[in-house]
Amino acid sequence: MSALLDVRNLKVRFAMPKPSLFAPQPYLEAVRGVSFTLEKGRALGIVGESGSGKTTAAMATIRLVPAAGGEILFEGDDLLPLDDEAMRARRRDIQLIFQDPYSSLNPRARVVDIVREPMDLMGIGDADSRLQRVKELFDLVGLRPDQLNLFPHQFSGGQRQRISIARALTTNPKLLVCDEPVSALDVAIQAQILNLLARLKRELGLSYLFISHDLGVVRHLCDDVAVMYLGQIVEQASREALFDSPKHPYTQALLAAAPSLARRKSKGYVRPLKLSGDPPSPINPPKGCAFVERCPMAQEVCRREQPVLKACGPSQVACHFAAA
């Protein structure tokens, strides 16, 4: 198996307002050295709470946000040094699905034009073959041909997400970056879209970089999972390893916090692991381990030294006290 995407030590930072005219430029370190590998035909889930940098990391991977350092190898070629023209050509292989199916479709365009537009921009085929392709894609994602000439507002949220998926598939991409594609949808509709994404992955051999805060969704769709906290990956493992034996206390807390049918009020469950407080602000991260303020296992060393990702059984974990 060859790596489709190999991201090494990716860093992203945003300039913050200067406190005074001659002060040095302060930066918010949004992504602090993230590395991951995505194999062809697999799905990598990036999980984390808001502010963890998961979306920024994904956007930097496809150069929609400028990276401050690192390497992004797509099929072996580093994307970061590419000029705009070369990057544009590369984007044919990398497409995006956004979270909000309402704001990500042009309300004044007919959906046939929305889905065809990437082919127009990339100069793929002629008018007839483009229309033919749009019809195929409509069929593939479960929309009817008589809906081609409607406007986005005439569709429900789930159908709009199908339109977004069809648009993303027009250029025959190898990699789909999905940024919380189901979190704006009702649970019943969410299942429809997840099943569609799973089928497309199987039938078209697509690879997904899948951003989500919902562990259940990630478990269902992804082969590998990376958990992010404050701009860093704190645990990385295969789906089985991560969900069956989570190592990092943050991963354990996330699993304990997610509502589950297995916990019943009538049985008087007690949450095994409780986190106090909110995720810390990336403007002023703690000195040692980023998780130290909320960690039930925190010791003196955690405040001093930042743990690095290291092998712990089948998983990669960044914790001083992770036990294999």
């Binding site: 709470e49 808001s50 429900s156 789930g158 009702d186 649970v187 019943a188 509709i189 969410q190 299942a191 429809q192 997840l194 099943n195 799973a198 805060h213 919902d214 562990l215 259940g216 969704v217 478990r219 269902h220 969900f243 069956d244 807390a253 996330l254 699993l255 304990a256 916090a257 997610a258 509502p259 589950s260 049918l261 297995a262 916990r263 019943r264 009020k265 009538s266 469950y269 949450r271 409780k274 986190l275 106090s276 407080g277 909110d278 995720p279």
Partner: protein, 326 residues
């Protein structure tokens, strides 16, 4: 047994450009002291309208309570005057909304806003009310409540704001607390904190809680009883364990099985899905509103609306269950 809050055959209609539309079509549910009732369903099923009806906050016009009763300790709220409702709101019943940023006033400190609610219903001085507000902030787990009481809403995180909303809602120890998707805008770890806090408050104050959610996982952790709503009707109602372990209505079954599982081992290759979407209310026909999305649709599903009656296990409104087809 008499219940603290009893909704009986409530009908709410709205005037729309499609004519008069029935948003709630004869719903009944009840909740007792110290009990949590979960109301579950997709968007557009009437969950929030149910909550707003109880609070007397249906915008009228275009909305109108067209029939039925809402009894709080026996008193019918649908017949209460606006002045009486103002007395009850905040004191006897309170509501927590989904988006804590838009439900707090941005130009007053959170301490002042909680104090205002206290002064409206209790005969206390402003100073005393402010001190009570600080005690409440402490009670809902806000660190350094003295300082936070002097903060404005924008200075607090989403989870903190929702705690402030809860502090305000419980300031007069209401008998009924309605939480309308209180954690939708929050991260999961914060959601878990808010759920634990609501359970604690219920233990301390004995409040009845109505929790509105679309998440069966939340129902499992929080609710004693469940009412499943679909297209303005209650289609299944029972103890939470009964609905979760033995769902009867195909819609209730779908809502439970379409959640990706988190526990060890069990995982389905494809998720059970409920095809289609909730129909617009003005397009409802004479049959079962769920028929278009149902795999057990047959014969009279298209012509006759099923009634909410017990068939075997517990009440469900479904012809297929009634006929023993599922």
């Amino acid at each position: 047994m008499t219940h603290l809050l009893q909704i009986e055959d409530l009908r709410v209609t709205f005037n729309t450009r499609y004519g008069e539309v029935t948003a709630l079509d004869g719903i009944s549910m009840q909740v007792s002291e110290g009990e949590t009732l979960g109301v579950v369903g997709e968007s557009g099923c009437g969950k929030s309208i149910t909550a707003l009806s109880v609070m007397g906050l249906i915008p009228s016009p275009p909305g109108r309570i067209a029939g039925g009763a809402i009894r709080l300790n026996g008193e019918d709220l649908t017949k209460a005057s606006e002045a009486r409702m103002r007395e009850l709101r905040g004191a006897e019943m309170a509501m927590i909304f989904q988006e804590p940023m838009t439900s707090l006033n941005p130009v007053f400190t959170v301490g002042d806003q909680i104090a205002e609610a206290i002064m409206l219903h209790q005969n206390v001085s402003r100073d005393q009310a402010f001190r009570d507000a600080i005690a409440l902030l402490d009670r809902v787990g806000i660190p350094s409540p003295d300082a936070r009481a002097r903060d404005y809403p924008h200075q607090l995180s989403g989870g903190m704001r929702q705690r402030v909303m809860i502090a305000m809602a419980v300031s007069c120890r209401p008998k009924v607390l309605i939480a309308d998707e209180p954690t939708t805008a929050l991260d999961v770890t914060v959601q878990a904190q808010i759920f634990d806090l609501l359970n604690e408050i219920q233990r301390d104050f004995g409040s009845a809680i109505i929790l509105i959610t679309h998440d069966m996982g939340a129902i499992s952790e929080m609710a004693d009883r469940v009412a499943v709503m679909y297209a303005g009707r209650v289609i299944e109602e029972a103890r939470a364990d009964d609905v979760l372990d033995f769902p009867q209505h195909p819609y209730a079954r779908g809502l439970i099985s379409c959640i990706p599982a988190l526990g060890k081992g069990e995982m389905a290759e494809t998720l059970a899905e409920i095809p289609g979407v909730v129909p617009p209310l003005h397009l409802l026909g004479s049959g079962c509103a769920f028929a278009d999305r149902c795999s057990h649709r047959q014969g009279r599903c298209d012509s006759e609306q099923p009634r909410l009656i017990a068939h075997g296990h517990h009440p469900a409104a479904c012809h297929a269950v009634e006929e023993g087809r599922i």
